[in-house]
Subunit: 297 residues, 4 copies
C-alpha cells in the first residue's frame, strides 16, 4: 500500500473583470467574476515542491484581464472557451482547464425617458453563469443561472403525499410557492447564439413556473426542464436545484381574524431542497465536467 | 456616584411580513422586513427583573402580522405609522415606538408579452426603507433607499486635491464612478403620496448621478441632495452615504497592450466612504429619531 | 429658504492592516480592519468640486499602513488615537477625525504541547472594536466587543409580563438564553492598560451572563453593565445590544416523546432585540462621538 | 429521442438541531445544522404530480428532531448514519438517503478559574462536517472540517515557477501563507472513535501546516494529506481545498520606510484556490457519494 496523489487542480478564483466598450458615445458594460483552474502534471509540485511546471495563479489572473482587452468580452461562454483553449493549447504542461464565470446584469439608466449613454443601475439578484472545461476529451460548455427568485401567490397545491409516524404536515390546495432557482444546462452542441439562448431559457423557466397548476415543486421542475429541452436542441441535459422558500400562513385566529392566504411569514431555515435532472434518452455521455459542475450532492 | 439605567428600548427585529392582495384574479404583493422597538418605564425590568410593564416581543411580532390583515399594507411609511401609533396610544406603559421597515421589490412576470396575474420575480438589489418614531415629541418619518448600485463609465474626474507626505494617488480626468448608495430623507411634512415620492426621489438620484460631470463623489452627493430638496417640499433634510466602489484600470503594459479605460478590476476593500447631509436653512430641528437613524458615525 | 450643506465626513473604510512582529523567532500578529473618516472645511468640495482641501482617501489608507510600521500596533485604542491625532494635528484643514478599528483574534498553534513560533489559527467569532474621535472638543475613546455568542441552557426564566390582545406567548420558568452580544463602552479617563481592560470587561460579561438567575434579557444586561462600571472606574457608560437568539423547544408529543428542554430548534428570524445603556449619575456629557457610535436606533 | 427524468433527490436543508444533555447539573450541548436528502422511485412525482411515494420534507425535519431525543446526538457521523438508515430501511419507497451535518463548537465558560455547568461561548470559525450516504451500494461516511483559518508569518517560499508572457509575479523566499481550509476525508472502515479521529485529523492539519518549510501551498496540502493517511488507517482518501488568502507586503518606500515583511494588506479577491486529493493506491472505489461530496469542480 502506498499513499499517492489523486485528482488536483489550482487556479485564481473570483477575478472581478469589468469591460467597458467605449468606441462610441454609447458605452457598453460586461461585468464578470472569473475563476480559472488548471490540470496537468503537477504531482511534483505537491510531492517535492518542484514548481517548474506551475503557471502561477497570478499569471492566470493577468491572462483573464489581458484577454478582456485582446479578445473582448461577448457571451461569457465564448470568453471562457477562449481562456480555456489558451491555457490548454498555449501553456505547455497544462492538459485541462476549467473556467467558471458569473455575469452581473446592469440596466441602462433612463433619464426622463431617454436611455443614458454611460450610466447603469445593477439589476439582480439573478446571476448568469457559465462553466467551460477543455481537456483531452474535448470542449464542454455548461450554461446556467443562479439566484433567480420566483414567487407565485396561488396555483400551487401539495397533498396526497406519503405519510409515516413522523408526518404532521396538513394537506393544502392553495399555497405560496417561492424559490431561488439554480439551473445548469449542458450543451451537446453549439447553439446559434449563446446570449439569446440564455434569454430564451430564462423566459421558459419563468413561463413554466407561472403557468403550471403545480402539485409539487418536483412537478414544476420537470415542466421547466422539459420545456427547455423541447425548445433548445443544443442542450442535452439540465439540472435544477430549487430551495422551497416556505411562506407560512400566519394563524390570526387568536386575534379574531381570518387569514384566507393573505398574510404570510417568510421563513429562512430550514427549507425544502428539491433537485432534479431532466435529460434526453440519447444524450451523449456527460463526463466529469458535468458531474463536478452539477453538485447533485 | 451611583450607577443608573440610561436609554433603553426593546422589540422584535426582522419580522418577514408578506401580504398578498387577492381580491381579484390579479394579485398584488408587498414584501416587508419589519422591526419594532418600544420605549417607556422599563427601568424595573432591568433592575429587578419585574416584567409587568413589558409587552413581549412576541406580542409585538403578532401585532405586526395582525395589522397586515387589519389595516393592510400600503406605503411602508403608513404601515409603520399605524403600528407605532398603536403601541404608543393603545399599550398603556409605552411612551415611544420606533418602527423600521425594509421593502423588497418584485417585478410582475411577463409571459409572452402579457403580465401574469400571480407570479413575480424578485428585483434587486436596492431596498426601500422607512423608519418611523412616535413619541411625546410627535411623529417623525424617515424615508430611504439602500443598496442602490450605480455605475458610470465616464463623466467622472478626480484631481487638484490636497497632498501630504502620504499621498501617492495620481490625478485622473476620466474614471469609473460606482457606488451602492444609502440615502435617508427626513420628512418635515406629509407629502401627497409616499409611494410616488419614493419613485421621484429614486429617479432624481439616478438623474444627478448620471448627468453631472463629477469632480468628486462629494460633488455628486450634493447635486443629488439639492435636486431632491428642490423637488420635494415635504423633505427637510437628506443624508447620503456612498461607498466609492473602486474600479482600477488594469495595467496591461507588461503584455504590450494599451488600456484606455476599457479593462478594470472591481475592488472589494478598502473602499472610500463619503457621507454628506444636505439640508434647508429653515429646517425644523431634527430630534433624536434622525440622529440615531442617520448613523453619520 | 436656502439649501445648505450639513454634517459631512469622508474616509477610507475597511483597510485590512496586518502587522507581524518578527524581532525574535517568536513572532506576534495583530490583525485589524481600520476605517478612517475626516471632518473639516469641505463644503466647497461638495458645492463646486473644489478638492484643494481634500486629503485623498488613498492617502488616508497609506497613512494607516505606514503608521503600522512607524508607530507599530499595540492596543487598538492607542493605534487609533495616534492616527486620529495625526490627521487633526498634522493635516492643515482637518478639524476632526474618527477612526474605527476591529481586531480579529488569533490563537497560537500548539504542536504536541509546544507553542509554535509563527503559526496561528483564527479564533472567533467575537471581534474587539474601538472607535476614537479627536476634534476640538477633545479626545473620545470607545472600546467594544461584537459578535460574542453566549448560550446558557438553564438559569433563565420569562414570565409575569404585560399582556394585551395580541399576546399569546406562554410563560416559562426555564429556557435557553442565547445572544450575540454587541457592547460599546465610553472611557471618561485613560485606564492603566487598554488590553487588560478589554480582557477584564469580556470576562465580566461572561460571568454575569452565566451566573445571574435571569428573569429577562433586560435584567442580564443591567447586571453586565453594572459589574463593568463597578470594576472599571475609567469607563463612564456602556451600551449593550443583545439579539435574543430564540431556541424553541420542539414539540415531540405527536411522536409520543417528551421533551423536557432537551431538543431545540435554533431560529434565525425574527429575533428579540434588547438594547440598554448603563451609566453613572455623574458621567461627563457624552457628545456626538458616543451618540453616533452607539446607534441606539 | 425522448425527454426523461435523470438523477433527482429532495429533502429538508439546514435544520438547526440543538441538543442539551441535562441529566446532571453539568450540562452538555451539541449544536448541529442537519440537511437530509432522499432518493427513490420519485419519477411520477415529477411527471404527473403523483405525490404518493413522497415522504414530505416536513416529516424529514420532524425525524431529525425526534431522533435527537430518541437516539441522542453523539458523534455527528453516528447521528447521520442512524438517520440515513432509518429513511432507507423504514420508509418503504426510499432507496437512498444522504445526510449532511455541520457541527458548531462551543467552549465551556470559565468563571474565575472554574468551569461553568451550563454556559458556553461559541468557538469558531471552523466547523466540523459529516456527509453520510446509505443506499444499495452500502454505507458511505465522509468526515470533514471547513473554514479552518490558518496563518503562518514565515516558513513559506514561492519561486522557481513556470513563466509565460503573462507572468509578472516576483519570486519570494519568505511570505505569509494563510488559508481557510476545507477538508473532507472518506472512511473505508469504521475508526475506533469518530470524535477522537476528528480531533486527531485537525491536529495533524495544523502540525503539517506549521512545520513544513513550504515551497508552495500544493506541497503543504500533500504533507497534510499524507500525514493523515499515515495516522488513520480507516481513512482511504482526503480532499483538500485551500484558498490562498493573499497577504501582500505593502510598499512603504514612497514614505521612506522599509518593510521587511512586517506590514501586510490582507486581500479579499481574487484568491488562489488550490485543490488536491491524497489517496491510497489500494483504496476501494469511491462511488458517487464521494464524487458529489467533494466538489472538485
Amino acid at each position: 500500500m502506498a499513499i499517492i496523489m489523486g485528482d488536483n487542480q489550482y487556479g485564481k478564483a473570483e477575478n472581478r473583470v469589468v469591460r467597458i466598450y467605449r468606441d462610441t458615445a454609447r458605452h457598453e458594460i460586461r461585468d464578470l467574476n472569473v475563476s480559472t483552474a488548471l490540470r496537468g502534471p503537477f504531482a511534483d509540485a505537491h510531492l517535492t515542491g518542484d514548481n517548474t511546471q506551475l503557471l502561477t495563479t497570478d499569471a492566470q489572473k493577468n491572462t483573464a484581464f489581458a484577454f478582456a482587452k485582446l479578445h473582448g468580452i461577448g457571451a461569457i461562454e465564448d470568453y471562457a472557451l477562449t481562456l480555456a483553449r489558451h491555457f490548454v493549447h498555449d501553456v505547455e504542461p497544462v492538459t485541462g482547464a476549467r473556467i467558471e464565470v458569473e455575469e452581473y446584469a446592469w440596466d441602462r439608466a433612463t433619464i426622463e425617458g431617454i436611455e443614458h449613454d454611460h450610466t447603469w443601475t445593477r439589476r439582480g439578484p439573478e446571476v448568469r453563469t457559465a462553466a467551460v472545461t477543455v481537456d483531452a476529451s474535448g470542449e464542454h460548455v455548461i450554461g446556467g443561472i443562479k439566484d433567480l427568485v420566483l414567487l407565485k401567490s396561488t396555483g400551487s397545491e401539495f397533498h396526497s403525499f406519503l405519510t409515516d409516524e413522523f408526518t404532521t404536515l396538513p394537506e393544502v390546495d392553495d399555497r405560496i410557492m417561492a424559490t431561488a432557482l439554480v439551473a445548469k444546462w449542458r450543451f451537446a452542441g453549439v447553439p446559434e447564439d449563446w446570449d439569446s439562448t440564455y434569454t430564451l431559457v430564462k423566459s421558459l423557466i419563468i413561463r413554466e413556473f407561472a403557468t403550471l397548476q403545480s402539485l409539487s415543486l418536483q412537478q414544476t421542475l420537470w415542466a421547466i426542464g422539459k420545456a427547455i429541452l423541447e425548445a433548445v436542441p443544443a442542450i442535452a441535459e439540465i439540472r435544477l436545484s430549487a430551495p422551497n422558500k416556505h411562506h407560512f400562513t400566519v394563524d390570526l385566529a387568536p386575534f379574531g381574524l381570518e387569514n384566507p392566504n393573505e398574510v404570510f411569514i417568510a421563513a429562512d431555515r430550514p427549507y425544502g431542497l428539491i433537485q432534479a435532472t431532466v435529460t434526453r434518452d440519447d444524450a451523449p455521455p456527460a463526463g466529469e465536467a458535468w458531474r463536478s459542475a452539477a453538485g447533485l450532492a
